[in-house]
């Protein structure tokens, strides 16, 4: 059983919902990332999602675009990101790590070689934003060969046919994009999300995570009521943007945000 599956099983047994913070690797500088990940876990993260910086992040809004640009000033590469994961794993054997990014850095490395190094570094799942299942056969094969979970997106535009298709290729969990738009926009409609998740559950037994538009403890708790996992990205990365001149404050600041969301999510589970 993969670390991601194991984590979701534990959470299910405890009747708790997963909180998955996202941060861009190397933002605003490379030495921040590993201490930040540990701080997020200490504050209540169940899984962590690490963004691989890319020069052309087409699915992201201005907050994560800026994070990519800050990381790329330091030339943070996919190899560097895996080094960070390896360092994180030295002292955290349990928290699942998901890489989220765009295909081209993996494409130029080569699927097989990347999968082997990523698995050895301690990565558990890979979400490639611009690679739908139609194009993903070779990558899925390479990732599965190294026991890495293959995480795919579904969205408000996904037809039932596509839900079926995605559920055939996905493992670990499925990431539902809560609205039509880019990361960081403010368009969350929890009622509409709940309706769509009900339909998706007809096609898969995988846990369903929801991301995009979750900005505060209230929206995190609302989404946790209907989803299995809550992904928070721009709300955290936006705080990094405000602390580029005092990076030593970043782990504590983001941990505080995650802790508040954790509290809100767990509170709604009890009621």
């Amino acid at each position: 059983m993969s670390r991601i599956q194991l984590r979701f099983r534990e959470l299910g047994e405890q009747r708790r919902k997963a909180l998955i913070p996202y941060v861009t690797a190397g933002d605003p500088q490379p030495d921040v990332t590993v201490p930040l990940l540990h701080a997020l876990v200490a504050a209540g993260a169940d899984l962590v999602e690490i963004g691989v910086p890319f020069s052309d992040p087409m699915a992201d809004g201005p907050v994560i675009q800026a994070a990519c640009e800050r990381a790329l000033v330091h030339h943070v590469s996919l190899h560097d990101v895996l080094d960070m994961v390896r360092e994180f794993r030295n002292s955290d054997k349990d928290t699942p790590v998901i890489l989220m990014g765009y295909l081209n850095p993996i494409e130029v490395w080569g699927y097989e070689d990347f999968a082997e190094v990523a698995a050895a570094a301690g990565v558990d799942g890979v979400l490639t934003v611009d690679m739908p299942p139609e194009e993903a056969d070779d990558l899925v094969r390479a990732l599965q060969a190294h026991s890495l979970d293959t995480i795919f997106l579904l969205s408000p535009t996904s037809s039932e046919e596509r839900m079926h298709l995605v559920s055939q290729s996905a493992s670990g969990f499925i990431y539902y994009v809560s609205f039509k738009g880019v990361t960081g926009a403010n368009r969350l409609d929890v009622g509409a999300v709940a309706d769509k998740l009900d339909v998706i559950r007809g096609f898969t037994d995988l846990p369903l995570g929801v991301g995009f538009g979750i900005r505060d403890p209230e929206s995190a708790a609302e989404v946790a009521r209907v989803a299995d996992a809550v992904v928070v990205g721009s709300a955290l990365v936006g705080k990094v943007a405000g602390l580029v001149d005092s990076p030593e404050l970043i782990p504590a600041e983001l941990a505080a945000t995650v802790a508040a969301m954790r509290t809100a999510i767990d509170a709604q589970a009890v009621t």
């Binding site: 890319f54 850095p105 739908p132 139609e134 969205s155 596509r162 738009g181 926009a185």
Partner: protein
């Protein structure tokens, strides 16, 4: 001249791309999930209407009466004499409405947008030619139009920006990344994913996710169909060579595609060599790049060893793009077309040469094709025939040329 695009399209479409838009390993649909169904809907509409006689009749009528087609195929005798080799024929896309081949495609996509009930169109633009062509058809069809343009390009192309605004388009400056064409494309994709219900994205070249490369090819193939008929009519035979500049590659595919089965016609696509390939300051992914995935398709890219897209350079804003249409990548690998480069300096010399020998001022993009043609023609005899795509007129580049020569206009 009689045009029969329906029959041609049906015949030539039989082979590539496959149903998911692959040209061998290139092309495809590399986009986030939210855009997959809109792309399927677009593909369904395109596949339906490209075979619909009523749609094709309307497209042909607009090409004739609005764009001004067919464009002439002109024997450039004094240019041919000056070079002293092959006879050079110019396909005069510069004479189209708005001054370039771009309008062929925007008319086609706007007609499709109307069939699909989309009242809002968006476009990306580099130099502004595709933006102007999109704003033009939006005005003609009464659609809302938003054009994304890199802040750096807006600064360099003030007149085209004003032209788009006169046409009623909103021009949105893009401040992210290198603030040029590739970033404008990113921003247009972000708009589309946000406003997908009412918005049609008019991509300006034969790149992007399927069906854009094949759709833009079909709307631009009128160039090659006309040229093929015209050269046969004027000379009694097919040309020895075709030459076109390649940025994204839409004018080139438009000319090349109807000649692909004519194996005796040698095909040359010319990329922007900038300061020279050895300097790294160029925009020649086919000649000096590697395969990768960007903007929805797998193709040759200008990228570093980490897979990050790198900045390009060309004197010509329309060629200043780090990718290229996937069908060109396929034509290169298959050997059916040859790709080469000319430098900024060579393109500028060709700009002057055509202006002085023929009284035709070419766009700096097209000047790349002309520069290579001069090289090629000089090694051929007088019985040889070269058809060059004169993809656009050079008025838009007068300020660039003057600046380079230290002249204040």
């Amino acid at each position: 001249m009689e045009q029969r695009p329906a029959a041609e399209a049906a015949k030539l479409n039989d082979t590539l791309p496959d149903e998911r838009g692959h040209f061998g390993p290139y092309g495809g649909q590399f986009v986030a999930e939210t855009l997959m169904r809109p792309l399927d809907e677009l593909n369904a509409a395109f596949s339906q209407y490209i075979k619909d006689p009523e749609f094709l009749a309307e497209f042909d009528s607009d090409l004739r009466h609005y764009v001004g087609r067919p464009s002439p195929l002109y024997y450039a005798e004094r240019l041919s004499d000056a070079i002293g080799g092959a006879r050079i024929y110019l396909k005069r896309e510069d004479l189209n409405h708005t001054g370039a081949h771009k309008i062929n495609n925007t008319v086609g996509q706007a007609l499709l947008a109307r069939r699909m009930g989309k009242r809002r169109v968006i476009a990306e633009t580099g130099a502004g030619q595709h933006g102007v062509a999109s704003a033009t058809v939006a005005a003609r069809f009464g659609m809302e139009c938003v054009v994304y343009m890199g802040a750096e390009d807006i600064r360099r192309q003030a007149i085209n920006v004003y032209r788009m605004r006169l046409l009623g388009a909103e021009v949105v400056p893009v401040e992210s990344g290198s603030r040029t064409l590739k970033d404008a494309l990113n921003e247009a994709l972000r708009d589309w994913v946000t406003n997908v219900d009412n918005t049609f994205y008019i991509i300006g070249t034969v790149a992007g996710p399927h069906p854009y490369p094949v759709m833009v090819r079909e709307f631009q193939a009128v160039i090659g169909r006309e040229a093929r008929a015209q050269v046969l009519e004027q000379t009694g035979r097919l040309p020895d060579a075709l030459v076109a500049c390649v940025g994204g590659g839409s004018n080139a595919i438009g000319l090349f595609y109807p000649f692909l089965d004519d194996q005796d016609v040698t095909i040359y696509g010319i990329e922007a060599g900038g300061d020279g390939l050895d300097t790294g300051r160029h925009a020649a992914p086919l000649c000096a790049g590697k395969s990768g995935v960007l903007h929805g398709n797998r193709t040759y890219l200008m990228e570093d060893s980490d897979g990050q897209i790198i900045e390009t350079h060309s004197i010509s804003a329309g060629l200043d793009y780090p990718g290229v249409g996937p069908e060109h990548a396929w034509l290169k690998d298959s050997g059916r077309a040859r790709y080469d480069t000319v430098t900024d300096t060579e393109a500028l010399a060709a700009f002057h040469q055509l202006t002085r020998t023929e009284g035709i001022m070419p766009a700096l993009e097209s000047s790349h094709a002309l520069a290579y043609t001069a090289r090629l023609a000089a090694g051929m005899d007088r019985d040889s025939i070269i058809v060059v795509n004169l993809s656009g007129r050079g008025d838009k580049d007068i300020h660039t040329v003057a600046d380079l020569e230290g002249i204040r206009v």
